[in-house]
Each structure stands twice: as C-alpha cells, then as structure tokens.
C-alpha cells in the first residue's frame, strides 16, 4: 500500500514539475498582468478589473470595439474551419482504409506535406495563386474580383489555406486509430451484409470515439488562437472583417507603439475563458455520448 502511494508521483510527477515551471507560472503571470497597466518595459501598475470593464462594458472604447470585432471574427473562423478540419480528414482516413485502394502512402504524404510548409511561404504561394493577374482566380476561373479584398472571398482564401495546411494532423490521428480497429469486426459486419455507411457508423466511429474527442477539442482550441493565416492573407481586411482577436492582442502587446500589454493580457484571458467553456462543453457532450 505504501509503495502504491508513491507510484502516481513516478508517472505524473516529472511532467507536473515541468508544467508548473513552464506553463503554470507564466500563465499566472499573464493573468496577473491582465489586472495591470504595463508597457512590457517598466513594472506593471495594478488597476484591478479596469481592463476587463473597459473591454466588456465601455462601448465607446476602441478596445471594446476591437475585442467584440475580433471575437466575432474568431468565432466565424472557428465555425467555418473546425467542421472541415474534422470531416475531410475523417473522410480521407475512411477512404484510405478501403482495401482496394492503392498508393495509400503516396496520397497520405501528399495530403500531409502542406502542413510542413511554413506559414509565410504558404501564404506567399497562395497569394500568388489567388492573385488576379498572376494566379488562377483571374486567369483560369475568369474571376474579376481581387479575392483578398472582398467578402466572402477573403474568408474563403483564409479557410482554404487553413484546411490545406491543417488536414494532415487529424488525418494521421484517424488513420492510426482506425487501423487499430480489429479487422474481424469489419469482416463480421460484412458477413451480416452491412454497407460502407453502416460499417462506418456502427464500427469505425465508436471505435475511434476517444481520439475523435481529442481532435474536436484541440482543433477548436487551435482555431481560437488563429492569427497567422488572416495576418498573411488579408491583413485583417476588408474593413477589419477578418481581423481576428489574436491579431488585436498581438498588436496591442507587440505593436509599433508603446506596448499596451495589460489590455492585451486581459483580452487573452477572456479568450482563454471562452476556449475553456467551449472545449469543456464539447468534451462533456461527446464523452457522454461516447460512453
């Protein structure tokens, strides 16, 4: 009995220490900073809930406008990108699982490669492709509209580059999970005359439910933190309609003028709370349905 009480520490202890040092302490400091005015160079000045009051309730304030617009755009991005980032990889994984399909490795690699390319190079390539004069939208599809500066195209190109670079990760998780599903289950189902869809809903999905929860929660969390794609593709335009919250936060903290890090931290904490609530809901709903 005594020996067992030490066991948990052996398994989770090392990580717990790392977590406290490299995540917990900096996060607590970030939360502390959200209750201060701070320019990153001097000492933070405590102001209590002032930043939060301004962001949430002072409708005349620039920061309130930025937060609301940024949060709205972030939610749009999450709503558009997450379902695609779940469904396409899942379909790919299922299609690749088909016994008769050949060259699986090749196709899997092709779908994964974009995820390896740095966001700045990827954005350059896609901006050339979406360029009216130089790319395909004008020359191949005959579109007369510059896509990055017009809605809904601005969102479309942001989602396209996100999905292009992002399906690989979830695809691999699904591939690894589905591969673990015992083949005899499928064979038995086939004997019973089950079709592809039946097999998918009654064998594949339940078997990979736990990894599925993981991809839902983590993909959503990642999508809330988006800023590279809109920054590079549209610079937040047109009329700040793709200006996501993380872009505002980073501009406040690391922009050209004197840093407004306290306000940035408060926005980041609020964003963190939203992520927390949504992922908790996702986990709760999916976990209940799974078990």
């Amino acid at each position: 009995m005594k020996k067992r009480s030490f066991t948990p520490y052996f398994f989770i202890g090392p990580h717990l220490i790392l977590f406290i040092v490299f995540i917990l302490v900096p996060t607590i400091y970030g939360i502390y900073a959200s209750f201060t005015k701070w320019n990153l160079l001097g000492d933070p000045v405590w102001v209590g809930f002032e930043n939060y009051k301004t962001i949430l309730f002072d409708s005349t304030s620039t920061f309130n406008a930025q937060f609301m617009n940024g949060m709205k755009n972030t939610l749009i991005f999450v709503g558009l990108s997450v379902p695609i980032l779940i469904v396409i990889p899942l379909m790919v994984a299922v299609a690749l699982e088909h016994k008769k399909v050949k060259m699986k490795g090749l196709m899997q690699s092709i779908l994964y490669i974009p995820g390896l390319i740095s966001i700045s190079a990827a954005a350059l390539i896609w901006l050339l492709i979406f360029n009216k004069q130089l790319g395909i939208t004008g020359n191949v599809f005959g579109s007369q509209i510059p896509w990055p500066a017009n809605q809904p195209y601005a969102w479309i190109i942001i989602i396209v580059i996100t999905v292009w670079g992002g399906v690989g990760g979830n695809m691999i998780i699904y591939r690894a999970s589905i591969n673990g599903v015992a083949k005899d289950l499928y064979e038995a189902a086939e004997m019973d005359g089950a079709g592809s869809i039946r097999k998918f809903t009654s064998i594949t999905l339940p078997s990979i439910r736990f990894p599925l929860i993981y991809t839902f929660v983590m993909t959503t969390g990642g999508a809330f933190n988006v800023f590279g794609q809109p920054l590079m593709m549209t610079k937040g335009g047109p009329q700040q309609s793709t200006h996501v919250l993380m872009m505002y936060i980073r501009q406040l903290a690391f922009g050209h003028g004197e840093s407004i890090a306290g306000m940035a931290s408060a926005m980041a904490v609020l964003l963190g709370l939203v992520i927390l609530v949504i992922s908790a809901m996702q986990y709760y709903v999916m976990n209940r349905n799974a078990s």
Binding site: N39, L41, F63, K132, P146, P238, H256, E258, I260
Partner: protein, 414 residues
C-alpha cells in the same frame, strides 16, 4: 538493438548539451551589437562590421541580427541580463524609449569623438535622436517612401514631362484619365499610409497640436480626399491587388514604395525604372515620409566607460566607411559618404542632390506617432477606396489613438 540506439541518442544529447553550455559567455572586450537588419541588409552590415574588426580595434564588434528585436529587447530589459552594448533602432521608437528610460544618453561617446556631430549628418536624421537637448542616437541612414517610375510606360503615355520639376502632382496624374490601355494603371497603393502622412505635410498640416494627437482634422481629411481622387478616377491599382508586383510586372507607371526596394526592382529583368518624389497635391511642395536607422545604447549599468569609448570609435568608423550601406538602397546619413563621388552611382543619391530634396525627407518625431501611423495604416485603404465614410472613420481613428495614449499614461503611473 533498440536500447543501444536509445542510449546512443541519450549520450549524444548529453554530450552535445555539455558542449553547447561551455564556450559561451560574452567577452568583456566585445561590443555586442543588435540589429533588426534581416535579409540582405544584414549581410551589408556584416561586411561593415567585418571591415571594422579588421582594423584591430581594442573592442571588436559582434553583430547579432534578430528577426524580432523589439520583443527581444523587452525580454532582456525585464530580466536585466544580456542587454546588448549597442543596437540599431528605428526613428519612431526614440521618444517612447527615452520616456521609458530605456536609452542611455550618448554624451560620453560624443565628447570623445568630436566628428560625431550634427553638421556631419543629414540634419533630420541627427535631430531625431535629440530629446530635450540630449543626444540619444547617431544615425546610420534615412530610409524613405519614394516614388519609382517605369520609364518605358512614361514614354508610351507621353508623361515624361511630369518629372520636369521633380514634382508629380495629382492633377498631372489625373490628366491620364481615359488614356491608359486596359490593365495599366498610373500608380499603385504600396505604403499608402506613408503617402497619406506625406500629404499632411504637403498641405501644411501636422499630426499633433500642442502635444495632443491630431488625426480628425481638416488637413487629414484633405490629404485623404486628394489621394482618393486618384482612386476614384480608376487610376490606382485595384483594391486588394498587389500593386507592388504589378509595378514590377510593368503595368503601373508609378510605385510609391521604399528606398530599399530599388535592389529588388533592379533584379527584375526588363524593368526600366527611375526614382522621384512622392506625388503631391500642390506643385509647390513635396514630401517623402521617412524613417531612420539609429545607433543607440540600451540602458545597462554594466557597460564600462572604456566600452563606450570603443562604441564611439566604431560609430566614427561607420561615419567614414558606410558606403557599403548604400548598396542596401538606403540614403546614408553621413555627409562624408553622400558627398563622395562614388555615392552618385546609387539611385537614391537623387534625394540628397540638393537642399530641397534633403528637406523633403520628413521624419515624424511626435511621441505618439506610432499609434497614429497604426491608425492610418489600419484605415487608409478602406478610406481611399471609398468603402467607409471619411468623417466617421477619422473620428474612429482619433479615438483609436487617444485611447491608446490614455493607456500609456496609466501604465506610467501618471
């Protein structure tokens, strides 16, 4: 087999980590010099530093390029360790840094190097570093918003006369309305925010009044309206298209980008270009909104007086030997360099060819300029393209700047 591999990896890991742990630690006879000069600029600066170190100075310079220097500066200032001895910062950072106590005056350095003085530099580059009579920086260059023109297109549309008085006016540009082939444009929208800020000067205005930000003003409104005329006439490259690439592709007469772009334009085969001033609403005045790379010392108590002398010697060397920097396309700040015949080979020598040109290089020194520039950059494209209401947006911009300034004052405990 597997265990062997694992232990081999572990061993290598430990060994290499040990290796990398030793051997570091900066020499006290080295000047650690940070710059944000990525790309080719960094290579030119490397070359200058190499030449300086080859003179066997008492304090050798170690050039460290960082791609995110200002964030890095805030981390080292916070931890108080690893602060560089010398850094290159941008002009718009100076007032804020001085107010926050991040810069050390160069008084000691200047008194030991009599040639490091205003008379030997482009005046505005020098005075950018003068705050309340104290000198905080020594300039390396001025980098400015300029206007490139496509010689072949000017000829084609018979517009070479625009260049006669070195001022291309908005009216001259408008005279081309209806005369261009489909797909050709008079001007692009590169660095549009800087162009707007130049017009504010051309129209005799400013961005501040008695230390308060002045964005929502008649002058600013006029500045936007005059540029908007070009867009309204369909002469500006379409919204959302890459006007810079379109200029390089030979479809645009004028490109309002930066001094530094000349090297890139030169690499485009078949692009026959020259450079002139940014267009103006009036034939009487022209302005090229500029910034400057400045040498500065970040606050660090551990920097010895001897090292400061070494820094002085390095800056004096730069003053005399920064021809290399002209290769980066920038307007070198040292008069000795720009007055030498060799400098005439560089296209940007146009901007130091006479007093009026030198005067046209305008550096905003208002303390809160960065916020104003941010506001202008955020909203200018939508205003010029007529996507938003001008008056309303100017009010939003004014509020944007004021709200941010208010935050600073609170952070400073005022």
């Amino acid at each position: 087999m597997k265990r062997k591999t694992i232990s081999l990896i572990l061993l290598t890991a430990i060994f290499s980590a040990l290796l990398s742990a030793c051997g570091s630690g900066s020499d006290k006879n080295t000047i650690v010099f940070w710059t944000p000069l990525t790309g080719d600029d960094g290579a030119y600066m490397d070359q200058i530093v190499k030449e300086y170190n080859a003179t066997n100075p008492e304090f050798k310079v170690k050039h460290v390029i960082t791609s995110d220097m200002y964030t890095k500066i805030s981390t080292v200032i916070n931890s108080g360790k690893g602060v560089p001895d010398l850094a290159i910062i941008h002009a718009d950072r100076v007032p804020g840094f001085v107010k926050q106590g991040v810069l050390e005056p160069l008084t000691g350095v200047l008194s030991a190097q009599p040639e490091l003085k205003q008379d030997n530099y482009l005046p505005q580059a020098w005075s950018t570093g003068t705050i309340s009579g104290t000198q905080y920086t020594v300039p390396l260059d001025i980098h400015s918003n300029v206007m490139y023109y496509n010689k072949d297109l000017l000829k084609k549309y018979n517009a070479e006369s625009f260049l006669d008085d070195n001022i291309v006016t908005i009216d001259e540009m408008l005279s081309l309305q209806g005369k261009l082939d489909e797909g050709d444009y008079v001007v692009n929208d590169a660095l549009l925010g800087w162009v707007i800020l130049a017009q504010v000067q051309n129209l005799g205005g400013d961005i501040q009044q008695d230390g308060k930000p002045a964005v929502n003003t008649e002058v600013m409104k006029k500045a936007f309206e005059s540029v908007k005329k070009i867009a309204d006439a369909g002469l500006m490259t379409p919204f959302g298209e890459d006007g810079y690439l379109m200029f390089q592709g030979g479809h645009v007469l004028f490109s309002t980008d930066g001094t530094w772009s000349s090297t890139a334009h030169a690499k485009v085969e078949g692009l026959n270009f020259g450079v002139t001033n940014i267009y103006s609403p009036t034939p009487d005045k022209f302005t090229n909104r500029a910034s400057s790379h400045l040498f500065a010392m970040l606050t660090n108590e551990k920097r010895t007086d001897e090292k400061e002398q070494g820094i002085g010697a390095f800056l004096e060397f730069i003053r005399q030997n920064s021809m290399e920097w002209a290769k980066a396309g920038q307007i070198v700040a040292s008069k000795q360099v720009i007055e030498s015949p060799e400098y005439k080979n560089y296209i940007q020598s146009f901007f130091t060819s006479d007093e009026k040109e030198i005067e046209s290089l305008y550096i905003y020194t208002y303390e809160h300029y960065p916020y104003i520039a941010e506001a202008v950059d955020t909203y200018c494209a939508d205003i010029v393209r007529g996507n938003v209401d001008l008056d309303e947006t100017l009010a939003t911009m004014q509020k944007f700047v004021e709200d941010k300034i208010a935050e600073n004052n609170k952070a400073a405990g005022q």
